[in-house]
């Protein structure tokens, strides 16, 4: 099928879906000052067409995405508004793209009158079920974003809010201004960046793990990647995992401890540099000291004869610990 024909097919499906969209039109659970409306929309592509990318842009609340084994996308939108007029201005739109992605976008439409909306009184939270094979992209403003059970990776961005990635395969990119990033059972390249916020990684396996945090701690368990790059300006790193022969592991903090505990079936080569602080390495590593004007602690060593896993550990002010298990 041609690209144009394919997008048209999706467009038809989306249009027909939106006709019967509000399955549960309105629920008045909260006081009248805070109306809540729940809408459920199910989108089915035409036969033989796969939804490859689900692109979500919700600057009005949280987004949660879960993969399922069907070819449809279902969207639960929970809207909150102070009154009916404002509620009608809260929109969730579905836009098919000629390239194949499905875009879900929320907005607060301009009203006919210029009456101001009270601060914090409008909100849209989305829960989206998507085919597992679809790649997911989501952007929120002040809200949480989470993805679970998808097989083609995700790109998640929030200005302020937690990011949660669970049971995901494929490359994952996360970015936040402030908030905690949690990764659990991620199989693929991970690229995470936060200004303020901790990161917690449990069972991450793939080619690459890159994490950059300005202020926060990074804790990782059961990490097995070939290329690891972790940087923190203010905060400590504690990582446990398995080193791969020929892998490269760079862990650095400007102001904080670097604590790495890795097992390795092959040899390891280590360079550790602490400008002001101690360096603790296993006894089998040769150790020497460099009395330069900038580096006050330096240690390096290699153990084993095969292709080594290379570790580069740095801190300006803090302690470096490398342990094996």
């Amino acid at each position: 099928m041609t690209r144009a024909g394919r997008s048209a097919a999706i467009a038809v499906c989306l249009s027909s879906a939106s006709v019967f969209a509000p399955l549960s039109p309105t629920a008045h659970a909260d006081p009248p000052a805070a109306m809540v409306q729940r809408d459920v929309v199910e989108v089915a592509p035409a036969r033989g067409i796969q939804i490859e990318l689900v692109d979500i842009d919700n600057r009005l609340g949280d987004v949660r995405i879960e993969g399922h084994d069907r070819e449809t996308i279902s969207i639960l939108a929970v809207k909150r508004a102070p009154d009916q007029d404002t509620m009608e201005r809260l929109k969730v739109s579905l836009v098919p793209d000629p390239d194949g992605p499905v875009t879900i976008k929320t907005s607060l439409k301009a009203g006919q009158e210029s009456r101001p909306i009270p601060a914090g009184s409008v909100r849209i939270d989305l829960v989206i079920m998507t085919p597992r094979h679809a790649r997911v992209r989501a952007q929120v403003w002040k809200g949480r974003v989470g993805v679970k059970g998808v097989d083609n990776g995700a790109e998640l961005v929030t200005d302020e809010g937690d990011i949660d990635v669970t049971e995901v395969s494929g490359s994952v990119t996360t970015q936040s201004g402030h908030g905690r990033h949690t990764f659990a059972q991620v199989y693929g390249a991970v690229d995470a960046q936060a200004v303020d916020g901790d990161m917690d990684l449990d069972l991450v396996r793939g080619d690459r793990l890159a994490a950059v945090v300005h202020m926060g701690d990074i804790i990782g368990r059961r990490i097995r990647v070939r290329d690891l790059s972790v940087r923190i300006v203010r905060g400590s790193v504690r990582l446990e995992g398995e080193a791969v022969a020929g892998g490269h592991y760079s862990v650095a903090s400007y102001w904080g401890n670097v604590e790495v505990k890795f097992s390795s079936k092959g040899p390891m080569r280590v360079r550790a540099m602490a400008r002001a602080g101690e360096i603790h390495l296993p006894a089998r590593f040769q150790r020497r000291r460099m009395e330069g004007s900038f580096v006050t602690g330096y240690a390096s060593g290699t153990a084993g004869i095969r292709e080594p896993a290379e570790f580069e550990l740095r801190t300006h002010i803090g302690m470096i610990t490398l342990a094996e298990f």
Binding site: R59, G120, G177, H178, D198, W255, G277, T296, G318
Partner: protein, 264 residues
């Protein structure tokens, strides 16, 4: 001879009219022959003009409360300090006005550190240890606390528009503060860089600064209701700045200093 680097350093003071006649004339002369610097200074001037055109913004009452709370916290912290610490601070206050005394104190501190650092006595220095304790979560505020603080900073907003405006400022401030902190760290680190690396780094950073400035000018004319989505490009640039700076400062890696080609 006035170079592009000089103009970059003096641009803000030039636009603000803070340079003396001779320096101002030298900058003007350079701008006549250097199109890129002229463009950069013009951008700076446009930012000033736009900023001057903005109405006064009353900070929300919650912001003053937050400042009061932080002052109170600092004062309570001071009350728990030892007499020795207070005495040391007083000495430092006096020293700040006396360069010779500062030099002597620095020398004494350097000798002390050389004797005391790992290898000297085999102990970690006290200051890092305190910092690490904070990094471990004892004193540094947790993310939840910071979220609460950030939210409360906009708690005084009455309308949705005011809230977006406040949140936007908060968001920008977070990036700008982090960039400023890393820029200060770069100033300390660059002494150990090779001149060619430093030049490449400076050029890359200057490009990002320039891109951010252009973006800020563009945003200055936008209504606050459009703020979150319109901020994406600026935040992409800020993130690229953070990436460049932290890579150089934290990991000592200057290889990422490449020309800015826009957000992916």
């Amino acid at each position: 001879m006035t170079s592009c680097r000089d103009v970059d350093r003096l641009a803000t003071a030039y636009v603000d009219g803070e340079l003396d006649d001779r320096r101002s004339s030298a900058v003007r002369g350079h701008l006549r022959v250097c199109a890129s610097c002229a463009e950069r200074v013009e951008d700076e001037a446009r930012v000033r003009e736009l900023a001057a055109g903005l109405g006064p913004l009353d900070p929300p009452p919650s912001m003053w409360r937050a400042i009061d709370a932080q002052l109170a916290e600092a004062e309570i912290g001071d009350s728990h300090r030892s007499g020795m610490w207070i005495l040391a601070q007083r000495v430092l206050d006096v020293a700040r006005g006396n360069a010779l005394l500062v030099g002597l104190a620095s020398s004494a501190a350097a000798v002390f550190l050389l004797l005391w650092l790992p290898g000297g006595r085999g102990e970690a220095p006290q200051r890092p240890a305190a910092a690490i304790a904070r990094a471990g979560g004892e004193a540094r505020p947790g993310p939840e606390q910071v979220v609460a603080a950030a939210t409360s900073a906009c708690g005084g907003a009455r309308t949705h528009e005011e809230l977006l405006l406040c949140q936007t400022h908060e968001s920008d401030r977070r990036y700008v503060d982090a960039i400023a902190e890393l820029t200060r760290a770069v100033a300390e680190e660059r002494a150990s860089w090779r001149a060619t690396d430093a030049a490449r780094f400076d050029a890359a950073l200057r490009e990002l600064d320039h891109a951010a400035q252009i973006e800020r000018v563009r945003l200055a004319g936008q209504p606050p209701s459009a703020a979150p989505a319109n901020r994406d490009s600026l935040h992409d640039i800020y993130r690229a700045q953070l990436e460049l700076l932290s890579s150089a400062v934290v990991a000592g890696d200057l290889s990422g200093a490449a020309p800015w080609r826009g957000a992916p």
